[in-house]
């Protein structure tokens, strides 16, 4: 089988997971006090570079289709996810311990929220530091849940690290 095509469909699968979670919890996914449940998928990026793109495209599509500020969120929100997951992947590559690798992602996620706070400051004149604070807390919580959840699942299934197996 063409491995590039397998990689493409697996990337699309992660995008779909992000979108499904996003659509399910859409009403609480935007604004300065957001609980974007789809962000629990971000720690998956540490397992393979392809998931950085999968999650980024998921965020892009979700913002484009569902955000009240579609095109602004699409640009800045997507850039934020790309930076957050990309940095997580690069840092995780240098860490050997499985759980440290995963549990570092909520910190990266929380720090990177300055981009969204800047967006809200610029377009909605929301106070930067208060917005940054609330976004950091909610993002950290979501990604911590994701890191623990996907950490346990991956430990049991090797679902995201296995290249070609279905684990069946």
């Amino acid at each position: 089988m063409n491995q590039n095509v397998v990689s493409l469909t697996k990337t699309a699968l992660v995008t779909a997971i992000y979108l499904a979670l996003g659509f399910l919890f859409q009403p609480v996914s935007f604004g300065p006090l957001q609980f974007r449940v789809a962000e629990i998928t971000n720690p998956i990026a540490v397992f393979n570079k392809r998931y950085v793109w999968g999650i980024t495209i998921g965020c892009f599509l979700f913002n484009l289709i569902s955000s009240p500020n579609a095109l602004i969120d699409m640009g800045i929100g997507t850039a934020n996810t790309l930076v957050m997951t990309g940095v997580s992947y690069l840092i995780a590559k240098k860490i050997k311990n499985y759980w440290t690798k995963l549990l570092i992602t909520p910190f990266i996620g929380a720090i990177s929220m300055f981009m969204i706070a800047a967006e809200l400051y610029w377009f909605a004149s929301a106070p930067f530091w208060i917005t940054y604070g609330t976004l950091m807390v909610t993002q950290f919580a979501m990604m911590l849940i994701g890191a623990v959840l996907f950490g346990i699942i991956e430990e049991k299934t090797h679902f995201f690290r296995n290249e070609n197996k279905t684990n069946s």
Partner: protein, 265 residues
């Protein structure tokens, strides 16, 4: 979950519904840039009229637009309150400690409110009149020039299409697994947050394994049909640019001219 809706699209046959999604995307982009030309009551007035006209042309009830505004309502109230209470300048109406209600504060808050709500209105117009798949197609089509700098536009577009198609399948599978586990006595809504997260894990594992099987099957099927990454492909949904789509660009040209003239008053 059976009535799960993807995005916010509402079926219709209005002029805006029939427009090429690329025209709507370009229009929304232009609007977000143009709104920064507004600097006084005249220009913001024009922006409001333009937005209301566009919303009217969709033939969709005001209630739907209100639903679009709702998620950002608290942000709007919060920002406006801060602007009113802490911005000074012009005539001062009230001063109490660090709180100042001034002419500039009130004017600024009105401008911010208009800017934010019109951006939300325009974004809502795009998403309620265009199916998600067409928005993704339109974006991929607009990205085509990036092929020259080796950006994988076709792969990006394929991932978007597969993912959007995958979502209802994922939801359906999740519902089936949850129902099967409920039948065996599983409970997803009881206990504290940690208990609830733990109860999701036995549901997520079969869901992910099932999805991975679908992904592999799909890859096999694509390979069997000789799908080649980066090779040109035909498309089932073809976007066509009509004369009426060109009118959108004229409307925006007129809006730009009006804003440039009126911002001097």
């Amino acid at each position: 979950m059976d009535r799960f809706l993807l995005g916010q699209y509402i079926y219709g046959n209005s002029y805006v519904h029939r427009l090429d999604p690329r025209a709507k995307l370009l229009g929304t982009f232009a609007f977000i840039i143009l709104i920064f030309l507004a600097n006084n009551f005249w220009t913001y007035g024009v922006i409001v009229l333009f937005t209301l006209f566009a919303a009217y042309m969709t033939k969709i009830s005001a209630k739907i637009y209100w639903q679009g505004l709702r998620p950002m309502l608290w942000l709007m109230i919060f920002t406006v309150t801060l602007q009113i209470l802490f911005t000074s300048g012009g005539d001062i109406y009230l001063k109490w400690g660090i709180i100042t209600i001034s002419q500039y504060g009130i004017i600024n808050s009105i401008f911010i409110l208009v800017r934010l709500s019109t951006i939300i209105f325009m974004s809502t117009i795009l998403t309620i009149t265009t199916p998600p798949m067409l928005i993704a197609d339109a974006f991929a089509s607009l990205l085509k020039p990036l092929k020259k700098v080796k950006f994988p536009v076709d792969q990006f577009s394929m991932i978007c299409s597969i993912a959007l198609r995958f979502v209802p399948t994922l939801m359906e599978t999740a519902t089936k697994i949850m129902n099967a586990q409920r039948a065996r006595g599983a409970s997803f809504n009881d206990g504290n947050i940690i208990k609830r997260i733990k109860s999701i894990i036995p549901m997520l594992i079969p869901l992910l394994i099932n999805s991975m099987k679908i992904a592999i099957d799909l890859a096999e099927s694509m390979t069997a049909r000789n799908y080649q990454l980066g090779e040109p492909r035909t498309q089932f949904r073809r976007l066509r640019w009509h004369k009426t789509d060109l009118y959108v660009l004229y409307y925006f040209a007129i809006l730009t001219l009006l804003l440039i003239v009126l911002r001097r008053f």
